[in-house]
């Protein structure tokens, strides 16, 4: 029996006590942990509340001081005294009492009347009911009752009217006496409110509950509890600049356009929105959570989730800048990236490369492009000497059968031509795009090659043909065709060959050597294996038409030699690729196992993960690695709902069936030749290196255009002086002028119009807007000289001189106006003065709100500012 072995072993009792106490402590810990240990946000919210309290109390105190200082307190005391005086007066006359008496009587009568009304209704109801049920047998007593009641009501009504008539004079005299009591009361209330509001805010803050706060968005499956700690993220007046109490940076842009109630936080910032127990978990730094928090500029990578066009998107400056790298290195040549289809080739066509470069140079270039010039974009493929030679053999075999170099020592350059070429070189502003030994190359977005050693790379014959017509060798090149004469080209070629030599260059094959057939085959295999055709067109590896059946399967184009789209992995969702699908290989232990680290490492050392990888090394700087990885990280299949999507202009046009703008007629030929859009934007096409020409026809005078195209560097001194206001790096004012393209010397093909005529004609026909009138209104009542004088006065009064320069006076923020009368059309000036941002949104000019008359006067004055053409 159980009680037989009672207390046989006392140690059992101790054991029992021990376990009981342990369980008790454990239970206590569980309760404590659940209340505080697992709810760190409670602490943050309390802290925030106390900070907010301090801020509000401070505000209140300030307001109080201000209230006293501005005489509010005194006014309040005054008002109170007035009020009590007025009330006193009212009481002393006894009018109030009388009024109350009458009112009470009236109320009583009203009550009686309504009681009777109710009774009447009940009786009438009964009366109607009996009528309804027993149509014939109406009860006469009901009828009688009703009549009686009606009589009573009428009597009361009469009484009431009499009373009201009595009351009227009383109330009139009362309101006379009361006079401004309501007004005083209202003002007192208003004055009190100033401080009361602040007090209420403090009280509200005091009673605000400490609770989990969250944004719940069903359709993207988000429950973002970030605001449980980041309490003040959307309050414009932050009580502290310390995390997690600060407000969101650039709130009006980010939160203003993306209501957190609809977007949540983690849609852009990633991290684990549901987590509340530790900072690490919430910020997604926990194991098995693949989406660590994005902070700072890195968050802009999420703009790519929804925005089709991030150019000019406020708040996406960093990511916009970074996407340029994809264009620079042509990632889309080997990888499928949505939005980068049909971008054109990054490298030149290579079919005829044997006629262009020296064999030795080609091999050296294949071995290490950066050895030739440090800004080379072509990556390093880690070819061996044999492999490089095989590829060069294959490339040279397409245009010949020999390995050959120009014997540099034997090249002779005519010193006279060299001298002439030097002048042409600077007139054509070759250095604007091409760097030579660290100088020039300011227009970096065209990625023109460095020419400092070009004399040992290409032969003179090719260079002559190239300058004569670049499109012939490389259709789609950015190199413009300058309208040089053959003699001028010879001079330029001699100058280049003479000036830009590589002293260390060898010419191993000055005596040509026949190429071996097996080497060609080996080279072709290598070209296919490493996908050189991704960036360079070459014969035998062109794109071929895709059959409709394949197109239906999503195949967009094929190389003839292999049935595959692009050599590299598709990157359309690299930023959300499951971690298991990323092969860390032998670096599994040495780098953090997350997606971003993988992307960065891949960019740093593309073949480092394991043997057999083919991606070449672009030798990006660490800065470029960070920038590019930020872009790649943004390529996700985010499953954003359609309502988030902001398609790009092009996509919208495509959906609406609108064709993108295309240049037409002879002007298209000029553009294809001179490549105006390398620098200028015209109707949304082109770069932002030089002024936008979309409205040039409405803006510029014909004679000025003609003069400028003939002599770009003479007439337009204004850009030379204009610093870029620190909008870009504040360099010393660079002499940026347009190259001299020698337009007007030649006729456009198939026509007998000179190209200047074509350009001017197109400007005037196409690049115009009806918003800008041809003529400005005429002021008839004042003589012209008087108008000009008035305009000059306005110019001086409004302080235009602070920014604009006329002659030698004035600031350099705005354009120089010394020659504006020759340059701009009056209609443009007139409209520009009305609203300067209308035609160029990023302009800094303030809006002065001129009247029409003032604008006419100013325009007339400005049109007189002309420099005599030299």
């Amino acid at each position: 029996m159980a009680n037989e072995n009672n207390n046989k072993s006392p140690y059992r009792a101790y054991l029992f006590v021990f376990f009981s106490v342990s369980l008790l402590i454990l239970s206590a810990w569980v309760i404590w942990n659940d209340e505080f240990g697992l709810r760190p946000w409670k602490h943050y919210q309390k802290e925030y509340k106390s900070l907010k309290h301090d801020q509000l109390v401070n505000d209140y105190k300030k307001a109080q001081l201000e209230f006293h200082r501005s005489g509010g307190a005194k006014r309040l005391a005054d008002l109170k005294a007035q009020l009590s005086k007025a009330e006193e007066a009212l009481k002393s006359k006894g009018v109030g009492e009388k009024y109350t008496q009458l009112s009470n009587k009236l109320d009583e009568l009203q009550k009686q009347a309504s009681d009777n009304q109710k009774k009447l209704q009940t009786v009438r109801g009964k009366y109607l009911e009996t009528e309804y049920f027993f149509t014939k047998t109406q009860k006469p007593e009901y009828k009688k009752q009703m009549d009686e009641l009606q009589l009573q009501i009428d009597a009361i009504d009469k009484q009431g009217k009499e009373l009201q008539a009595k009351q009227e004079p009383v109330s009139q005299s009362m309101s006379q006496l009361a006079g401004n009591i309501p007004a005083i009361k209202a003002e007192i209330e208003q004055l009190n409110k100033i401080l009361e509001d602040k007090k209420e805010k403090i009280a509200n803050n005091e009673t605000a509950p400490i609770e989990i706060k969250q944004f719940l968005i069903k359709d993207i499956d988000k429950a973002d509890r970030c605001v449980s700690c980041h309490v003040g993220i959307d309050s414009p007046k932050q009580p502290s600049t310390k995390q997690p109490y600060t407000k969101h940076p650039l709130m009006s842009v980010y939160l203003g356009h993306h209501d957190p109630g609809k977007f949540g936080c983690t849609f852009c910032h990633r991290g684990q929105g549901r987590a509340t127990t530790t900072v690490e978990k919430a910020h997604g730094k926990a194991k098995y959570w693949d989406e660590p928090l994005l902070k700072g500029d890195m968050t802009q990578t999420s703009c790519l989730n929804c925005h089709g066009d991030i150019k000019n998107l406020r708040g996406a400056e960093s990511i916009t800048k970074n996407t340029e790298l994809i264009r620079k290195y042509g990632c889309y040549s080997c990888h499928k990236i949505p939005g980068y289809e049909g971008m054109g080739d990054v490298g030149p066509e290579l079919t005829q490369v044997g006629t262009k470069v020296n064999y030795t140079w080609a091999v050296d270039w294949l071995l290490d492009p950066k050895k030739y010039f440090s800004t080379a974009r072509m990556p390093k493929f880690y070819f061996t000497q044999d492999q490089a030679e095989a590829i060069a053999d294959y490339l040279f075999s397409m245009s010949g059968s020999e390995r050959k170099d120009v014997d540099i020592a034997a090249v002779k350059n005519d010193p006279k031509l060299v001298e002439q070429g030097k002048v042409l070189w600077s007139q054509a502003r070759c250095n604007l795009c091409h760097a030579t030994g660290g100088r020039g190359g300011d227009h970096s977005k065209v990625y023109a090659p460095d020419l400092s050693k070009v004399g040992s790379k290409v032969n003179k014959t090719w260079l002559f043909n190239w300058i004569k017509d670049p499109n012939k060798y490389f259709p789609g090149t950015k190199m413009p065709r300058f309208r040089f004469t053959d003699q001028e080209i010879s001079a330029l070629v001699d100058y280049i060959a003479n000036e830009y030599q590589d002293d260390e260059a060898e010419s191993k094959y000055a005596t040509p050597q026949t190429i071996q057939a097996e080497s060609i085959k080996k080279g072709k295999d290598l070209v296919q294996q490493y996908g050189c055709y991704g960036c360079h067109k070459m014969r035998g590896m062109e794109m071929v038409q895709v059959a409709p059946s394949l197109k239906a399967q999503g195949v967009t184009f094929l190389r003839s030699d292999e049935m595959r789209e692009k050599i590299g992995t598709e990157l359309s969702s690299i930023g959300s690729k499951p971690l298991e699908l990323l092969d860390f290989g032998k670096l599994k232990k040495s780098i953090p196992n997350d997606r971003l680290s993988y992307i960065k490492q891949k960019l740093r050392d593309p073949r480092g993960f394991r043997l057999g990888l083919r991606m070449p090394n672009f030798r990006l700087s660490e800065k470029e690695v960070n920038e590019l990885s930020a872009v790649l990280y943004g390529f996700t299949d985010s499953n954003a709902p359609v309502r988030f999507m902001v398609p790009s202009r092009q996509e919208l046009d495509k959906m609406a069936g609108v064709q993108g703008y295309k240049f037409t007629g002879d002007f298209a030929k000029v553009i294809a030749d001179v490549k105006c859009t390398n620098c200028h934007t015209i109707k949304g096409i082109g770069a932002d290196y030089a002024p936008d020409l979309t409205l040039a026809g409405s803006k510029l005078q014909e004679s000025w255009i003609r003069n400028f195209l003939a002599n770009p560097d003479m007439i337009r001194p204004l850009l030379q002086q204009m610093p870029k206001l620190g909008l870009s790096q504040a360099k010393n004012p660079v002499k940026v002028t347009m190259p001299k393209f020698n337009l007007g010397k030649q006729k456009v093909e198939d026509t007998n119009r000179s190209d200047v005529d074509v350009v001017v004609n197109y400007f005037q026909q196409e690049l115009v807007t009806t918003d800008i009138p041809k003529n400005i209104p005429v002021i008839a009542d004042v003589a012209m000289p008087e108008q000009i004088a008035q305009g000059k006065k306005l110019y001086d009064d409004k302080g235009c001189i602070a920014c604009h320069q006329i002659g030698t006076d004035g600031g350099a923020v705005g354009p120089n106006l010394s020659n504006v009368g020759n340059r701009l059309l009056p209609g443009f000036i007139f409209k520009h003065l009305e609203n300067s941002r209308k035609f160029k949104s990023d302009i800094v000019e303030p809006n002065y709100g001129f009247t029409e008359r003032e604008r006419v006067l100013l325009t007339n004055f400005l049109m007189t500012l002309k420099l005599s053409a030299k």
């Binding site: 037989e4 569980v30 659940d34 989990i212 499956d221 429950a223 509890r225 549901r274 987590a275 509340t276």
Partner: protein, 255 residues
């Protein structure tokens, strides 16, 4: 004090529950057992030698304790869980981050489940080593084996419910093994004679489809929360009853 005592004990409610006073004598002790459904399942007598830890290890009782803990925590978890593809995983996350005492409830359930599987196996090992499966306890051994399988099935079906990668792939592998069942699985031998395809085999029955999806989740949920616990409870009742009927808890032979 006495009044209060009388008031509590001398009324209909008390009497309807306890029937009679309890005096510590043999008759009343026996009556207490007769009148109590739970004690009906319990052996009338437990010998001292039988409660010695080093013989039985107390494993059967501990298993039952684990089962009770799992039932209670499981019911609590059911209040916060939707067996749907959209919500299952976030519900689990909410249990971790949001629900009061969610972490301890879920962890008790999870670790309790591991504990029960281990303990039930040790229980079986002990029964085997002490030869307690021999006559007259053969039938109860059989019931025990079925209960062991049910414990494993509870574990298996519960694995999918968090709807995470671990559970998803575990169930994928597990049910694919089912596909290799002879006759009944579409990959198993002889299944072609029964015209078994991936759409009518035993795997399909387990998943409610050909892949691990919403139906599989719902099936797991129903099996885990209703069907298997119900069957296991009935079998446990039988198991305990048979312990009593087969001569009480087994104990050293020569005692």
């Amino acid at each position: 004090m006495n009044d209060l005592f009388n008031k509590v004990k001398k009324n209909l409610i008390w009497k309807s529950v306890f029937r009679r006073d309890y005096r510590d004598n043999v008759r009343d002790r026996a009556l207490a057992i007769f009148g109590n459904v739970f004690l009906h399942l319990h052996p009338v007598k437990v010998r001292e030698s039988a409660v010695k830890l080093r013989y039985t290890w107390g494993m059967g009782g501990i298993t039952f304790l684990a089962f009770i803990i799992l039932t209670i925590t499981g019911v609590v978890l059911m209040f916060y869980y939707h067996p749907t593809v959209d919500q299952a995983y976030s519900d689990m996350k909410d249990l971790e981050f949001q629900v009061p005492y969610g972490v301890i409830t879920r962890n008790l359930h999870r670790w309790g489940a591991h504990f029960m599987v281990i303990v039930v196996m040790i229980h079986m090992f002990r029964v085997f080593m002490t030869g307690s499966y021999k006559a007259p306890r053969q039938f109860n051994w059989g019931i025990g084996v079925i209960l062991l399988v049910l414990t494993f099935l509870l574990s298996f079906t519960g694995y999918l419910l968090p709807w995470d990668q671990l559970g998803f792939w575990a169930i994928t592998v597990g049910t694919n093994m089912g596909a290799a069942t002879p006759l009944l699985g579409y990959q198993g031998p002889f299944s072609e004679y029964l015209h078994i395809t991936p759409y009518n085999d035993v795997r399909f029955a387990l998943l409610g489809g050909a892949i691990v999806g919403g139906n599989a989740l719902l099936r797991s949920y129903i099996w885990h929360c209703i069907a298997i616990p119900l069957i296991a409870t009935i079998l446990m009742v039988v198991h305990f009853w048979r312990v009593r009927k087969d001569g009480g808890i087994s104990r050293p032979q020569n005692n």
